[in-house]
Amino acid sequence: MKVLIKGIWLLLTLLLLAGIYPQYAYEKFVAEHADQYLQVQKIKDCDVIYLSASSNFASGLARESDPRKISQMVADHFPSMQFEAINKPASHAGIHAALLEMFKENAEAKTFIVTMNLRSFGPDWIYSELETPLQQSTLFYNNRLPLVNRALVSLRTYDDRSVEERHAQRKSAWTNDPLPFDPPRNNVTDWCAEEKWGDWRNPKRQLADQFIKQYGFVLDASNPRVKDFDRMSALAKEEGWTMVFNILAENVETADSLVGKDLSSLMQRNTHWLIDRYDEKGHVVINNLERVGHEHFTDKDFPTEHYDDVGRRIIADNVAAGLARALAQKNSKHDN
C-alpha cells in the first residue's frame, strides 16, 4: 500500500511538471531542434504543400531580379490554390516521410510536391554528420505528450551515431559499393584516386573528386532514400493523396567536363531508375536533371542544387506543368 501511495505521488508530481513543461521550455526547444514541426503546425487551409531542402531558397545574389523561392514561383502558376512550403537545409526524404505522417488524418492538404535530390541518395549525404540532428528532429513529428518526445530525445532513441561512425560508414560505402565501370572506376575511392587535373591540391581535381563522391552510386531498392520514397508513396496511396516527385537539376555539364561521360551517364541512369520506379507506382515524376545550365548554379566550388532566379524559374515552370498533369489525372479519376 505504501509503495502504491509513493508511486501515485511520483506520477502526480510528474504529470503536474509535464503539464507546465510545454509552456516554459518545449516550444523554444522545438524551434531550435525541429522547426519543421512548427512549420507544419502553422499550416491552415492549404491545397498543396512543397517539401524541400535548401534548393527552394533564393541565392541572395545581387544580380537576381526575382527573389521568389521555387515553391512561390510554382504557386504563382495556380492563383486559385493555396500553397505552403516546408523547408530545412540538408533535409531529405527520410525527414519528409516523417513529416508526412503528421498529415495523416484530417490533412489540411491533399497534394504534396516532394523534391528528389539525386545527391541525397548518395553515401556522402546518407552518412552525413548532419544526419544525427536530422534524425533527432523526427522524434518531434507526432502528437505525443511533449515531455515524452523530449524524453525520447534525452534517451537518444534515434539513429544517434557519432561523426566518426558516420565518416567510417561513408568511407566504407565509397570503397565497397561497386560501380558499373572497369577499374579504377569500379568504386568511388579508386575513381577519385585516378589521375586527373594534376594532384589533390589542384582546385579542379578537388571539384572533380567531389562530383564523383556525390554522384558515384548505383540506385536500387535497398537504398535508404529509396525506402523513404517508397514509404511516402505507400502513405499517399493509403491516404488518397496526390504525390508529385520533383527530381532536381544537377550540374551535369560540369560533371561531364570535369570527370567525363561515365559520371554523367551514371547520373542519368539513376534518374531514369527513379522515374520508372515511381511512375510505375502511379506518381508524377518531374525530371529536371539536365534542365539548368552550369551558369545558373550559384555554387561553383561544390556540387549543390542552389540556383539563381533563372534556374529556379526553369524548375518551377516544369514543376507547375507536372503538377497540372497530376491534378488533371486526379480529376479524371474522380470523374470516372
Binding site: 544525427t132 515531455l147 523530449r150 534517451l155 537518444r156 557519432s162 566518426e164 565518416h167 567510417a168 589533390w200
Partner: protein
C-alpha cells in the same frame, strides 16, 4: 552501450531481474554474459582485446603463483606488463607516434593525416585504460602475494569485464571486487533503493549538467581567439564543471548499477572542488585511479620513505604517468606536471596549518592550479593551451555571442549546491534523513529534469576515450 541510452534502460532491469530470479550459483554466468554483451554492443571487435588481456593475465597470474623461482615470477610479471601496456601503447599512443614522430620525418600530407586521425579515433577501444589497469593490479597483487589467483578462467573473466565499471571505472582491486561478485546476495529493497538513487542522480548530473555545459565550452574553446577574457575564464570554469559532472555522473551510475545487485564499488569522487590543496584534491578526484597509482607505482618506487629529492622525483613520475594515462598528447603531460609541481610546492613551501583566511587562500591557490591545468587537458596542443591562458589575462576585446539554454544557470546552480550538500556523504545518505514526501518529490524532480532538460548533442562520457 551507453548508460544514458534506451538500450541500457532495457538491458539493466532485465539483467537485475534475471539476477534475482536465477539460483545463486549461476548468477555469475549471467553477469559474465551481460558484461560481454554490454561491451560488444559498441563493437564486437573490442571483445578480442579484452579476451586477450584476460587470457594473458589469467595464465600469468597462475604461473607467478605456482612457480617458486623469483626469476620466473619476475618473468611472468614482465609478460603481463608488456602485454597490457603493449595493448595500451599500441592503441593509445601509435597515433601520437605517427603524428609527432613519423610525420615530421617522412612528411605525410594533410589528407593522409586526416584519414589516419579519423580511422584512429574510430578504432580506439573504449575503456582500454581502465580494464588493463584493473588486470595489471591483479597480476601485481599476485606477484607480491597479496592475492591468490582465481582458478576458474570464466570467473576471472567476470572480474575483468564486470559491466558496471568496465569502461570508465571505478578501477577496482581484486581483493575488493572479486569476492563480492560471487557472494550470496538476497533480494533487498534497500539495495534497489540505494542503487536507483545513485543512478538517478548520476543521470541528472551527466545528462543535464555535463551535456548542457559542453556546447558552451565547445563554443568558447572553438573561438578562443575572439572570446574576451571573461568568456575565456567562464570557458575554463565550465570545462572544469563539465569534466567533473560527466565523470562523477558516470561513476555514480556505475556504482548504483552494481549496488542494485548487492555489489559495493569504491567511491570515485567527493566534492573535489572544495579541496584546500592539490594533495586533498587527489584524495577527492578520481579516487580509484589516484589510489591505484599510489599502490602500484608510488609505493614500489619508494614512496615517501625515501629522501626528499627521491620523493620529489617519485611524485613527479606519478603525476607525469597519470597525465600520459589520460591520453597521447603533450597537453596531458603538462597537465600532470602542473599538478606534480604544485603538489611539491605545497609539500615543501606552504605551511600545513593555517587560519581561516589562510585556508581561503589555499583554496584559491588549489583551484587556480586545478582549473588552469584543465585548460591544457582540454586543449589540442600546448601552444593552444598557452595562448588560451595568455588571452584569458589580456583579451579585452568584444567577445563572441554565446548561445546557451536559459535553464542552464539554474541547473548548474542546483548541481553546485547539491555537490556541497553531499560533501563527505552521498545523495543516498542525505535522502535517508528526509521524509517520504520530500524523497519522492526529489525523485520526480530528477526524473523531470532528466527527461525534459537533458543535453541534446551527442557527448559520450569524456573518460571513455581514456
Amino acid at each position: 552501450m551507453l548508460f544514458n541510452s534506451l538500450p541500457f534502460l532495457i538491458f539493466l532491469p532485465t539483467v537485475v531481474l534475471l539476477y534475482y530470479l536465477l539460483p545463486h550459483r549461476t548468477r555469475w554466468i549471467l553477469l559474465l554474459a551481460a558484461s560481454y554483451i554490454f561491451y560488444g554492443y559498441w563493437k564486437v571487435e573490442y571483445l578480442s582485446l579484452i579476451l586477450a588481456s584476460t587470457t594473458v593475465d589469467y595464465f600469468v597470474a597462475r604461473y607467478i603463483h605456482s612457480t617458486p623461482s623469483r626469476f620466473h615470477k619476475r618473468f611472468g610479471l614482465a609478460l603481463s606488463l608488456i602485454t597490457n601496456l603493449g595493448l595500451l601503447v599500441f592503441f593509445k599512443y601509435s597515433g601520437w607516434f605517427i603524428e609527432d614522430v613519423l610525420d615530421p620525418v617522412i612528411g605525410l600530407n594533410e589528407v593522409q593525416l586526416n584519414d589516419f586521425r579519423t580511422a584512429w579515433d574510430f578504432l580506439l577501444p573504449v575503456g582500454i585504460s581502465f580494464y588493463t589497469f584493473q588486470t595489471l593490479g591483479y597480476t601485481i597483487d599476485v606477484y607480491y602475494g597479496k592475492a591468490v589467483p582465481e582458478k576458474n578462467p570464466l570467473k576471472f573473466a567476470l572480474f575483468v569485464s564486470y559491466f558496471p565499471q568496465l569502461v570508465a571505472g571505478p578501477i577496482e582491486r581484486f581483493s575488493h571486487l572479486h569476492q563480492q561478485l560471487f557472494q550470496r546476495v538476497s533480494f533487498q529493497y534497500s539495495n534497489l533503493q540505494h542503487g536507483a538513487r545513485l543512478i538517478l542522480y548520476g543521470l541528472f548530473i551527466k545528462m543535464c549538467v555535463a551535456d548542457n555545459v559542453s556546447p558552451v565550452v565547445d563554443q568558447i574553446f572553438g573561438h578562443s581567439t575572439e572570446a574576451d577574457s571573461l568568456q575565456l575564464v567562464i570557458g575554463m570554469l565550465l570545462f572544469g564543471l563539465q569534466i567533473y559532472s560527466d565523470f562523477h555522473g558516470y561513476s555514480l551510475i556505475a556504482i548504483g548499477t552494481a549496488k542494485l545487485m548487492g555489489v559495493n564499488l569504491m567511491g570515485n569522487f567527493n566534492a573535489p572542488y572544495t579541496a584546500l590543496s592539490i594533495r586533498e584534491f587527489w584524495s577527492r578526484w578520481h579516487i580509484s585511479l589516484s589510489t591505484w597509482f599510489r599502490d602500484y607505482l608510488f609505493i614500489p618506487l619508494g614512496g615517501s620513505k625515501a629522501g626528499q629529492v627521491k620523493l620529489g622525483i617519485n611524485i613527479l613520475i606519478v603525476f607525469l604517468v597519470s597525465g600520459l594515462w589520460h591520453g597521447a598528447n603533450w597537453t596531458f603531460v603538462v597537465w600532470g606536471a602542473m599538478h606534480g609541481v604544485a603538489y611539491l610546492i605545497e609539500r615543501w613551501v606552504l605551511p600545513e596549518r593555517s587560519s581561516r583566511i589562510g585556508s581561503a587562500l589555499k583554496w584559491i591557490w588549489t583551484m587556480v592550479i586545478v582549473f588552469v591545468a584543465w585548460i591544457f587537458f582540454r586543449s589540442e596542443s600546448i601552444e593552444f593551451g598557452a595562448a588560451y591562458v595568455g588571452l584569458m589575462i589580456s583579451n579585452m576585446g568584444e567577445g563572441i555571442t554565446l548561445e546557451w539554454d536559459p535553464f542552464l544557470p539554474s541547473i548548474v546552480g542546483i548541481f553546485i549546491l547539491s555537490d556541497l550538500l553531499f560533501r563527505n556523504r552521498s545523495i543516498h545518505v542525505w535522502l535517508e534523513s528526509k521524509s517520504t514526501l520530500i524523497r519522492w518529490s526529489v525523485y520526480a524532480l530528477l526524473l523531470f529534469f532528466i527527461t525534459g532538460f537533458a543535453g541534446t548533442i551527442q557527448h559520450p562520457f569524456i573518460y571513455f576515450q581514456f
